[in-house]
């Protein structure tokens, strides 16, 4: 809502406040002021000029040579506007004037003729193009009525006004009118105000002789009032009215439309004027439209209606979409003489639906949608009649033809001062509460602690104790609330077990050199099914799809964090950031159903993606790219940190390198996977060699048990032995390791591969694996014989199980 300070001053005198200070007060008591700005950039030295003569410029076809009386003198001015003519009053920037953009006006010579100033268009004076009346858009502005030559055009055109823009929350529809703003400002400043009245002088002829009104859906349309105004002269509205509309961001059109818009701004009640003679009948029937019924609206669009839409008809055809827009058929034009003026109350939800379905949001629909004041509907009609009488020379017929089932009763809310103070933590006296209610113009009766309050219908948002609490608190001032701390029994706050673990593993990943990424949960359909761990893929064949996605890129919920993370890697790679290591902990969304009927299972995963150099110390020629084992090391380290034993099996996952992918398992349960992204996908995404891991971290957390108790530090020395085994190259090292561990139990403590060899001195298809074995007996010092025994057991076992040969 744009509030003209000049206009506001007509209702409540705030001239003693700096606009910024006033804005601050309004903001603090109730409504956020979004900006305080002059209606136009500063203009100096523009006066009214009377065009005494206007002739063709001798040397230029498109220029006029004018003599203009500016009060103190007559100036010769060359003007290029097509609409300038003798006898007009026009705004003239005299030499020395300053126009917006710091444009200084000087004497000049145009095509051999002296020009002592400039006749101005509204745009040149700083008025927004969209607010300029159509007839002046391509030319100078012409004052619509007689003014004095030499008068200050800046104030005549209201260009010295300040505009306060209110950012209204949905509950404060009452401030979608100047009257509402006046109430609010009066309450905030504790000051007197005076609103306009309605003073109509109807002729004896009755409106009811011209028209009948019937309403078919009284819930959608509890009140419909029709006024008849005849002998209307459609023309220009007075300058003051045009100025106010312009200040509020509404373009002046003609006196009839301007008056309905003016009352809309003043009372917050949208009105509509039909051309009575073109309405097509003498009856108004409001009803829900039929499916497929059509209407051509004022903007010359044909609109197809449904039974959701309320229409104003002439008994047969719709003439307006209620509350949203009138029809072209009965639009007021320059030939209109008799007006049918509508003042109605339409159900907010119905108007909202129509407005949404037709993509039409107007000053009118905005107000109906939020609910207009039931007590101001008819009054607004009368106010418009008064203005039509005064400014169009019309006669208003007596009476309003109406259908009326509108509830205008004021809501009663009872509050106790003790309860108010308890809830606010304040000590506001009964007298202060009474004063606040008076400032708000709420009537009440007070006995002791008790206030029975009648809430004016303009404040439809105030319905219960808490609403009154807010009214009292905001006028009392939130600045006056004390600072206290909650008194209830305090509890120990803290993180849950999972939250702590989550933080722990974040620290782990960061210590391991990875940066945390946060990616989007919404991804494309194809990416949603990509790089999904098998235990997820087995349950979730159907990624969750949005009903109305905004783009294909963000249409489905992810089943893996990796595709979006790879996008982040690609984003960096494209910016020459080549060494990257990311992790993310986030949810994936598992849905088993083809058509979603219930919330998907949300499960936490930890994923990472790495590419480029992992170790890079250039001047020492130390350089090592990320490889499978870097990523595996990170996963193993995490498992070790959580004291979990996990195993790795070669596996296949779509879009992963078929030879470099491992499935991460704990027993038979799959926990995720790791490995290299398939080179095809790498290429497609513009990535270099990239390695990823994906872990069901929720499962890891479930498996984790906190270390309890104490494991004694071994007192006796350990014995270390190395063996090198020659085996078939297809046998995974982990299997041999497993055999060693089993066979060496209980003495074997550590088994580590320290060399892998293939090539010379070995048969084709064979490889040599060298293991370092560490034996320990926690009870006593190991004897050579014991170690020998265990070692031989191990050798026997690997020979038997893997046909391993001891390498000579």
């Amino acid at each position: 809502m744009l509030v003209s300070l000049n206009w506001l001053n007509e209702y409540i005198d705030v001239r003693d406040y700096q606009p910024e200070d006033l804005a601050e007060i309004i903001t603090k008591t109730g409504i956020e002021v979004e900006s305080v700005e002059p209606v136009a950039e500063e203009v100096k030295g523009v006066v009214v000029g009377y065009v005494t003569s206007c002739e063709q410029h001798p040397n230029a076809d498109k220029l006029s040579l004018c003599q203009i009386d500016v009060g103190t003198e007559t100036l010769q001015i060359v003007c290029g506007a097509p609409n300038i003519a003798q006898g007009q009053y026009v705004p003239v920037a005299v030499p020395g004037a300053v126009l917006p953009g710091n444009f200084k006006i000087k004497k000049t010579n145009l095509r051999g003729e002296e020009s002592n100033g400039m006749v101005c268009s509204l745009q040149e004076l700083g008025v927004d193009e969209k607010d300029v009346p159509k007839e002046y858009q391509n030319g100078i502005f012409v004052f619509p009525e007689d003014v004095q030559a030499g008068e200050n055009a800046v104030s005549l055109l209201n260009l010295d006004d300040m505009i306060i823009e209110l950012g209204l929350t949905p509950n404060r529809a009452d401030c979608l009118s100047m009257a509402g703003v006046a109430y609010e400002v009066a309450a905030a400043l504790d000051r007197e105000y005076k609103l306009a009245g309605e003073e109509v002088h109807p002729v004896s002829e009755k409106a009811s002789e011209y028209l009948s009104v019937s309403v078919q859906d009284q819930e959608a349309n509890p009140y419909y009032g029709a006024f008849i105004i005849k002998d209307v002269n459609v023309g220009k509205s007075p300058l003051w009215m045009q100025n106010k509309l312009t200040a509020a961001g509404i373009r002046p059109i003609n006196n009839v439309v301007d008056i309905t818009n003016y009352v809309l701004l003043e009372y917050g009640q949208p009105l509509h004027a039909f051309d009575y003679d073109r309405f097509g009948s003498k009856e108004i029937v409001t009803r829900k439209a039929e499916d497929g019924e059509t209407i051509v609206t004022l903007d010359d669009q044909e609109r197809t209606l449904t039974t959701d839409h309320l229409v104003i008809t002439n008994g047969t055809k719709p003439q307006a979409i209620a509350g949203v827009m009138g029809g072209a058929e009965s639009e007021v034009n320059e030939n209109t003489t008799t007006i049918l003026l509508e003042a109605a109350y339409f159900d907010p939800a119905v108007v909202r639906q129509s407005s949404k379905d037709h993509g039409l949001r107007s000053e009118s629909s905005t107000r109906f949608e939020k609910g207009v004041d039931p007590n101001r509907v008819e009054r607004a009609g009368k106010r418009a009649c008064e203005l039509l009488e005064r400014y169009t020379g019309a006669s208003v017929l007596s009476g309003v033809v109406s259908f009326d089932q509108l509830d205008r009763t004021e809501r009663e809310v009872t509050v106790q001062s003790q309860r108010i103070n308890e809830r606010l933590g304040t000590d506001i006296s009964n007298q202060e509460i009474a004063d606040i209610l008076k400032r708000l113009q709420f009537t009440f009766t007070n006995s002791g602690d008790n206030f029975d309050i009648s809430v004016p219908t303009r404040r439809g948002d105030v319905t219960q104790f808490e609403d009154m609490l807010e009214e009292i608190a905001r006028i009392y001032g939130y600045d006056h609330l004390p600072y206290t701390l909650p008194q209830g029994a305090s509890q120990a706050g803290g993180l849950s077990r999972i939250q702590k673990l989550k933080r722990d593993i974040k620290t782990y990943f960061e210590g391991a050199g990875l940066n945390e990424a946060i990616t989007y949960s919404l991804t494309s359909e194809s990416r949603a099914a990509m790089l999904v761990s098998e235990e997820i893929a087995n349950q979730a064949n159907h990624p969750v799809k949005l009903a109305m996605p905004m783009s294909e890129d963000h249409s489905h919920l992810r089943l893996s964090l990796l595709p979006e993370m790879l996008q982040s890697l690609a984003y960096n790679t494209a910016r020459k950031q080549n060494n990257l290591g990311y992790y993310e902990i986030g949810k994936v969304f598992i849905n088993e159903e083809e058509r979603v009927t219930k919330q998907p299972v949300e499960t936490l995963r930890a994923s990472g993606a790495l590419t480029g150099e992992w170790v890079s110390h250039l001047w020492q020629q130390e350089k090592k790219p990320v490889d499978f084992f870097v990523v595996k090391g990170i996963v193993e380290g995490l498992a070790a940190k959580l004291d979990l034993s996990v195993s790795f099996e070669k596996g296949k996952i779509e879009h992963m390198h078929p030879g470099r992918t491992a499935i991460i398992k704990s027993g038979e349960r799959t926990l995720g996977f790791l490995g290299q992204v398939h080179p095809k996908l790498q290429k497609e995404m513009g990535l270099k060699e990239t390695y990823v891991f994906d872990l069901n971290v929720e499962e890891l957390f479930n498996m984790y048990t906190k270390v309890e108790g104490f494991r004694p530090i071994p007192k006796y020395p350990e014995v270390s032995r190395d063996i090198a085994l020659v085996v078939e190259e297809s046998i995974p090292a982990a299997e041999i390791e497993k055999t060693i561990v089993e066979a060496g139990d209980p003495l074997i403590q550590i088994v580590q591969v320290f060399d892998v060899y293939q090539g010379d001195h070995l048969d084709d298809g064979k490889k040599s694996l060298a293991f370092n074995l560490v034996y320990l007996n926690p009870e006593r010092t190991l004897k050579d014989k014991e170690v020998e025994e265990a070692h031989n057991q191990i050798l026997d076992a690997v020979k038997q199980t893997h046909r391993a040969e001891l390498r000579g």
């Binding site: 606010l424 905001r474 600072y483 206290t484 909650p486 990943f509 989007y520 109305m548 979603v596």
Partner: protein, 344 residues
């Protein structure tokens, strides 16, 4: 014999003096002090001496031996020191060359902000709660006093999956869920950070996914002044002890009264600048007293219980605190952006 010993001494010391290598010294030791050396020989001839002379010569021989040994030792030490010095000289490096980089990662800026806020409220006795990102219409809207048909729940603004399911548009449903778990009888002190989604086109100030932190305190006798006190403590810890707060009336369907909290502008200290658009204040969060309908739907008696709730956006806080100019930075994961905030 005396003369012979003196002679040997002079000879040996002179050799020591002229030796410049450790090996030469070792040779001298063997030559003079060895079992077959001349001094030993002298001592062997002591039998021929008189009883009186024997101890004198013995003493002298020992003195000579010791003197030579000492000379060798100190020369050797000196030579070794010199050699070491030379070696160390040769080993010297350019200490200005860069060290071997350690790979250390770091948290995302949003996580840092969220955890800072979590820790701050944990200190005030709050729990951290989480909830599903795919919410039911009931918890996302209805339980928060946004019944069907309410203008604030336009299909256009939310990512619906079905008529009943949508991506949560705020973390407020966790309020309703948490209260629901308490059977309307226990106090609640919690904050819930999390991802939320709105149907916005991504640009410098909008993101279809962003983060929110919601806070809720419900108990008997909770006052609006408690909200002010808690928010003031939060603002001072988060933004600096010299920050002031102010509450302004606002509107949210799930709180009444509703307020927005501003903090005094850090840039100008409240006098007005471009950051605060001349007002001296910067909007930080929305808050209010829990709406009685919300309490009631969650099973609390609004005559007995009251509470306050607040909600804030870590992206906005990060943007204000660090001057980040585009919300998309939080989601493109440009490492040049992320790494700026890894410093302690």
């Amino acid at each position: 014999m005396k003369e012979r010993l003196q002679e040997l001494k002079q000879e040996a010391l002179s050799k020591v003096q002229h030796s410049e290598e450790v090996q030469a010294l070792k040779d001298i030791r063997v030559e003079y002090l060895g079992k077959k050396g001349p001094i030993t020989e002298v001592l062997r001839g002591m039998g021929k001496l008189s009883k009186e002379e024997r101890p004198i010569i013995g003493q002298l021989a020992n003195d000579v031996r010791e003197e030579i040994a000492h000379a060798i030792e100190s020369k050797q030490t000196r030579l070794e020191d010199e050699a070491l010095e030379k070696q160390l000289e040769a080993e010297s490096i350019d200490v200005t060359l860069p060290g071997r980089p350690i790979q250390v990662g770091g948290p995302h800026l949003l996580t840092s902000i969220v955890e800072e806020i979590e820790d701050l409220f944990i200190g005030m006795g709050f729990e951290i709660k989480e909830g599903p990102e795919v919410e039911t219409d009931y918890y996302n809207f209805e339980a928060l006093n946004l019944p069907k048909g309410h203008p604030a729940r336009d299909m256009q603004d939310s990512f619906y999956i079905t008529e009943e399911l949508l991506l949560r548009t705020h973390t407020s449903p966790v309020q309703a869920r948490t209260m629901g778990q308490k059977n309307g009888s226990e106090p609640v002190r919690m904050i819930c950070p999390g991802k939320v989604y709105r149907r916005d086109t991504d640009d410098a100030t909008h993101s279809h996914q962003f983060t929110q932190i919601e806070g809720l305190l419900v108990d008997k006798h909770v006052r609006m002044s408690d909200l002010k006190g808690v928010l003031d403590a939060f603002a001072k810890q988060m933004f600096g002890a010299e920050r002031e707060i102010r509450l302004r009336p606002s509107f949210f369907p799930f709180t009444e009264p509703s307020v927005e909290m501003d903090i005094s502008c850090k840039m100008c200290g409240g006098s007005g600048c471009s950051v605060c658009k001349g007002t001296g204040w910067i909007e930080i969060l929305g808050a209010g007293m829990v709406h009685p309908n919300v309490l009631e739907m969650a099973g609390y008696d609004p005559d007995e219980y009251s509470g306050f709730a607040f909600g804030m956006g870590p992206e906005r806080i990060a943007m204000l605190k660090y001057g980040v100019d585009d919300i998309r930075h939080f989601y493109t994961n440009d490492q040049r952006f992320l790494k700026q905030y890894h410093k302690a």
